[in-house]
């Protein structure tokens, strides 16, 4: 291996290291931002789940009676209660 080739190889290694070092912190920051966003989405599931459970418990169980008059009554009651 000539001196020139060796120097070029070292330069490549150094360049590669620099790129990796630069990429890492940028990559971590970007990943952190994505993680934060996804965590917030997952927090929001608390309210969506509770809303679904509320509808199921207060409405759908009673709607399953299939009594038309009762279903209308239950829908009106639910609207008044939220």
């Amino acid at each position: 291996m000539t001196t020139f080739t060796r120097t070029r190889a070292r330069a490549r290694i150094a360049q590669d290291r620099y790129r990796r070092l630069r990429r890492r912190p940028i990559g971590v920051r970007a990943r952190l931002a994505v993680l934060e966003e996804e965590l917030q989405e997952s927090r929001q599931l608390n309210r969506r789940i509770t809303e679904l459970v509320d509808v199921v418990a207060e409405l759908l169980v009673l709607v399953d009676d299939r009594d038309e008059e009762r279903v209308r009554e239950v829908l009106a009651q639910y609207r008044a209660s939220i």
Binding site: T50, V55, S81, I82
Partner: protein
């Protein structure tokens, strides 16, 4: 805008339409009065910004619409001993006196979170007694009927501990209860249960978040006092208390609940009120500071936002819109969109308008003989539509629909699936975030599964760089192709679409307005397939 110098030759404070320019920034809070009445308080070092000539403390945005006319502006420290400014000032071009009052003429002030409120300073003794009795009733109902440990908190507790009296400039009372639940979903479910129990007891209330209910207490002077019912809870060792407080606080600071006297009325209080006040207001809580502002941990606020909030983000701004620019729109004619919808419907076909706003179109369609349901998320808008309908002796139903709240979406979907209506939504799409839009498509799928049409109009983003539609910040443009893809993903079919010049919500010319006619096909129920054994 005109300026008056308070003291020659070098004024300590210069008052203008922009705000108060202070030659230097005093460290202590300053109280601003108009014609001798408390209006607002600030701390210059925190609320001001350096400008040539000193520190400018801008008027709070909620005050700006009142600042048109002459007024005696006094700026002084809390004790009133050190007066920085006390002179007549002309603001804007108005020729009357500046009056910061509500539509009933009742005086208003700015509270510590920047909202307009009625201050206790201006409340008659009898009315104050009504507020305290109402607060006592709320606390009793929470403990006896809802079964939670409730206690007086915030400004009312601070006043009670300091002087046994309400602090001046406070506008409402706040109560909290300590939830035993540690999962946000359970905490929200408990808050729903409390809401139902309080409604059954006759309270009128508003839900502000998954853990915050506002009780509206009618007072004999015609206004409504707000009693906020906040949840407090613990998740992963951190204590949270709505509004936005979070940090370390032992349960023993709250339990067992003690009592405290406020204007002679005994009320439940935290076990250690001083420790609670230090947690809320910091170690300096004993020194009065009407300009106090919370400095809540950002991480805690973000968690509370994620767990409990997100369904009424723009509610306040829409309420302001309906009380301001929206009120002027009421006198306008129906939109060309309403006429377009009417032309395509059989006579007397029922229509539900989603996001009815001021209700011009809903009322016009009702007058044309269509049975109409008008949905909107703004209470102010719904009240305005109902009032106009009564005034015109038109029958239409007005219902709440919060597209970011899944349960109201499912409820409206269930109602419309049983009582089919065509749907119309003018300039609604641009007001919604991605979640709300996706829940609108869910509502449409439920409502139109048996047939019927959805009519849409929205400001279109066609890549030509058209200006933002009005009201600024509340409505945005949408790419018609994106809307089409969303509709198709939700099982709908765009029957017709076109982009032409039209108008925005305020009636200003808009070069690219998209109209769509959309249908949903009835989902086919899977036929049972027998497989050979």
């Amino acid at each position: 805008m005109s300026r008056v110098l308070s003291q020659a030759p070098a004024p300590v404070v210069t008052v203008s339409g922009d705000g108060l320019l202070l030659r230097s920034a005093p460290a202590e809070p300053q109280v601003v009065s108009f014609d001798g009445r408390y209006i607002w308080a600030f701390t210059a070092a925190r609320d001001g910004r350096s400008v040539p000539g000193g520190v400018l403390v801008e008027w709070p945005p909620v005050l700006r619409r009142f600042l048109d006319g002459t007024v005696r502006v006094r700026v002084a420290d809390v004790t009133g001993d050190r007066v920085l400014h006390d002179q007549e000032v002309l603001l804007g071009a108005g020729d009357g006196r500046v009056q910061v009052v509500d539509p009933q003429g009742l005086p208003l002030a700015v509270d510590k979170v920047g909202h307009l409120c009625r201050a206790f300073d201006d409340t008659a003794e009898g009315v104050r007694a009504e507020i305290l009795t109402g607060t006592r009733r709320a606390l009793d109902d929470l403990r006896d009927v809802c079964g939670v440990e409730a206690y007086l908190n915030y400004g009312a507790l601070l006043g009670a501990v300091r002087d046994g009296a309400m602090i001046a400039h406070d506008s409402d009372t706040d109560v909290c209860y300590l939830s035993r639940h540690t999962s946000p979903a359970d905490i929200i479910a408990e808050s729903y249960r409390i809401q139902r129990a309080l409604k059954q007891l006759g309270w009128t209330l508003l839900r502000m978040s998954g853990g915050d209910i506002k009780l509206l207490l009618p007072l004999s002077d015609g206004r409504l006092c707000h009693i906020d019912v906040f949840v407090a809870f613990r998740v992963g060792g951190t204590f949270y208390q709505l509004g936005n407080r979070s940090g370390r606080l032992l349960d023993s600071v709250i339990l067992p609940v003690s009592t405290i006297t406020l204007h002679g009325v005994e009320l439940p209080a935290p076990a250690d009120p001083e420790a609670m006040l230090a947690f809320i207001y910091g170690p300096g809580w004993r020194v009065p500071d009407p300009s106090f502002k919370y400095a809540d941990p950002v991480r805690g606020v973000r968690r509370l936002d994620g767990w409990l909030r997100g369904f009424r983000t723009d509610m306040g701004r829409w309420t302001e819109f309906h009380q301001g620019a929206g009120r002027r729109l009421v006198r306008g004619r129906r939109s060309t969109f309403a006429k377009w919808v009417d032309r395509q419907l059989p006579r007397g076909a029922p229509v539900a308008e989603i996001g009815c706003g001021t209700g011009r179109d809903a009322l016009w369609l009702a007058r044309r003989g269509h049975p109409v349901i008008a949905f909107d998320f703004s209470r102010a808008a719904r009240a305005a539509v109902l009032k106009r309908a009564r005034h015109r002796r038109l029958h239409l139903e007005v219902r709440a629909l919060i597209l970011n709240e899944l349960r109201t979406v499912l409820l409206a979907g269930a109602e419309l699936a049983r009582d089919p209506h065509h749907l119309a939504a003018r300039h609604l799409l641009g007001c919604l975030d991605d979640r709300a839009r996706s829940q609108l498509w869910l509502l449409c799928r439920m409502a139109l599964r048996g047939g019927g049409t959805l009519f849409l109009e929205f400001s279109a983003d066609t890549g030509v760089g058209a200006p933002d539609p009005e009201p600024a910040g509340l409505v945005r443009r949408l790419d018609p192709d994106v809307v089409r893809r969303e509709i198709e993903a939700a099982g709908g079919r765009v029957v017709r679409a076109r982009v032409r010049a039209g108008v925005d919500v305020l009636g200003h010319p808009d070069p690219t307005v998209c109209r769509m006619r959309v249908a949903w096909t009835r989902p086919e129920h899977p036929t049972s397939r027998r497989t050979a054994p």
